[in-house]
Amino acid sequence: MNSVETLKQSDDYILELHNVKKYFPVQKSLLEQIFAGRKDFVRAVDDVSLNIRRGEAFGLAGESGSGKTTIGRLSIGLEELTDGRVVFNGIDLASLKKEELRKLRQKMQVIFQDPMASLNPRMTLGSSVMQGLIIHYPELSNQHRDMVAEIFEKVGLTPANYYFNKFPHQISGGQRQRVVIARALITRPDLVLADEPVAMADVSVRALLLDLMVQLKNEFNLTYLFITHDLATAKYICDRIGILYLGKLAEVATVQEVYQRPMHPYTKALLAAIPVPNPRKRRTEVMPAGEIPNPINPPPGCRFHPRCPIAQPDCAVDEPPLVEVEPGHFVACKYAKLS
């Protein structure tokens, strides 16, 4: 079983995930239910433990089926756990009543992937951003407008009054994402879940957005949980990164460590697969065979073993635990070593 991380220093953890599991029941037709008998589950998240320090930008990376989005949603209580605990600022989310959780939302905000879809098309930008204030700081109602103007300026939407009355379809994609960032930050949260926040922005705009996010993190003392499939982008904003494969953590370390000294065979393959914007540095490595298995029936033992170039017979039997092989560098592989 994966063990909970043991860190030497007493760190201030804003978010702790303890053996978190999330299984989704598979929809079956009536006939299938009668004949199949047992229920099938999509094991989206299968026993993941993580601690995120206050003030860091933690990246959760993985391909499709890795469970990264689900972990994000579980972390801020948008999804219910099948098993395990999520502790935010020392509070176990499961212990909260619905109303208390709703009030706690002020402290944990989300930046979604698709800015066009995450903004109410019938609400002005100013109004959308102000909602957070209306809900969590109703007593300051006469200052709301000024607060919105202030955050608009911070994210670079100036003149603020111009953008206040615009609708989402009247501005560009990059500007929309800024609005989404403004909306997330206006309630002064502690934790921001950023779900592929720049994936839909143009390449030339991404750098600006990432820069903005880093600057705001420092200014507001935020913690980011950054979910992405784009490791190249994650490098520019994350301090630490966790690589997920099929619902389990494969490797967790600082960005430098993971990118320059990867140990898990999957991490190595993943990094090798990512194209480098330099034609003189084209990939020479061979890609692992096969494709990501179905999360309903993951392979026994280590989930990566059918595709792993260094798999041993016992990899098909025992699930490797996430072990700290070097200070701050965790790997879930018995035979991992630096190449």
Partner: protein, 326 residues
């Protein structure tokens, strides 16, 4: 050693009629596609690259239309093709792979049927057994197990579906495959494997591949030449090594400098290009990039430059490299 030209595009323009007026999504673009090359066409949203790709197969529907230009393929201008010749051209000479394989494949048709049907459409004389044999061979060539031959699209993964799409184009011995964001919806390892496949196929069959994508790193990985588009114009096109090492157009310079690199290089800062791509209903006067250009000159805001060859095989569309009055 002059490479042979497969397709010559001259002065191509595509215009859309919108509520806010006519929009020139592609504005007087000229370039060549060589035989057997991989040409990467890059640009950001709204630059017109996807529209250009569709225009090459004359697949522009109203409210858009190809408002000017010639597309010369094997000596013939396909703009002048009638319906039958066009049908013959599409699929047999040039085919397209789209972003979402799920919607481009018929969900109620098995994979082998897809391939057999493609043959049936373009080579009507071919018998079914022969078509089936060819399909089996192609699927094996694409690295899909023979047991998946009878699968429906939803039973295959995204990567496999894209390979089948490629197969449909290849089975008819097309000369040109246009891949429009073909790997955007795929995981990176799957994408890498598909790219390996395409490279092998290019070696074996000698086809040309036009890769339309916003993923610049992918183009660096795959292409022989790169073409950069901005706001409907072709701004730079040439050899991939030369352009990556010494990009000439300011947009290309900015664009390449803003691409994240997974490797740790000396320079760790991403270039932040100011401004945003223009609204094509009101494009800037003169050079469309001038509001965001760090090297803008007075002439840039009054007259449009043209795409000129400044070195052999290297074309740039910028006043910095052309004679101008002031």
């Amino acid at each position: 050693m002059d490479k042979k030209i497969l397709m010559k595009i001259k002065d191509l323009s595509v215009t859309y009629q919108t509520r806010l007026g006519p929009v020139s999504a592609v504005d007087h673009v000229s370039f060549d596609i060589y035989k057997g090359e991989i040409l990467g066409l890059v640009g950001e949203s709204g630059c017109g690259k996807s529209t250009l790709g569709k225009a090459l197969l004359r697949m522009i529907d109203p409210p858009g239309e190809i408002s000017s230009g010639e597309i010369i393929f094997k000596g013939e201008d396909i703009m002048k093709y009638d319906y039958n010749k066009l049908r013959n051209f599409r699929g047999k000479r040039a085919s397209m792979i789209f972003q979402d394989p799920m919607t481009s494949l018929n969900p109620v048709q098995r994979m082998d049927e897809h391939l057999i049907e493609a043959i049936g459409v373009h080579e009507p004389g071919v018998k079914r057994e022969s078509a089936l044999k060819r399909s089996k061979k192609m699927i094996k060539r694409l690295g899909i197990g023979a047991d998946r031959l009878h699968s429906y699209p939803h039973q295959l993964s995204g990567g496999m579906r894209q390979r089948v799409m490629t197969g449909i184009g290849l089975i008819l011995n097309a000369n040109l495959i246009i891949a429009d964001e073909a790997t955007t919806s795929l995981d990176v390892i799957v994408e890498a494997k598909l790219m390996d496949q395409l490279r092998e196929i290019r070696e074996e069959f000698g086809i040309s591949l036009l890769m339309i994508t916003h993923n610049i790193a992918l183009v660096a990985e795959m292409a022989d030449r790169i073409a950069v588009m901005y706001a409907g114009h072709m701004v730079e096109i040439g050899d991939i090594y030369k352009i990556f090492e010494h990009p000439k157009h300011p947009y290309t310079q900015g664009l390449l400098a803003s691409v994240p690199n997974i490797q740790f290089d000396a320079n760790e800062e991403l270039y932040k290009m100011p401004g945003e791509p223009p609204n094509l209903t009101h494009p800037p006067k003169g050079c469309r990039f001038h509001p965001r250009c760090p090297h803008a000159m007075p002439i840039c805001s009054t007259r449009e430059p043209s795409l000129l060859e400044i070195e052999k095989g290297w074309l740039v569309n910028c006043w910095l490299y052309q004679k101008h009055q002031d």
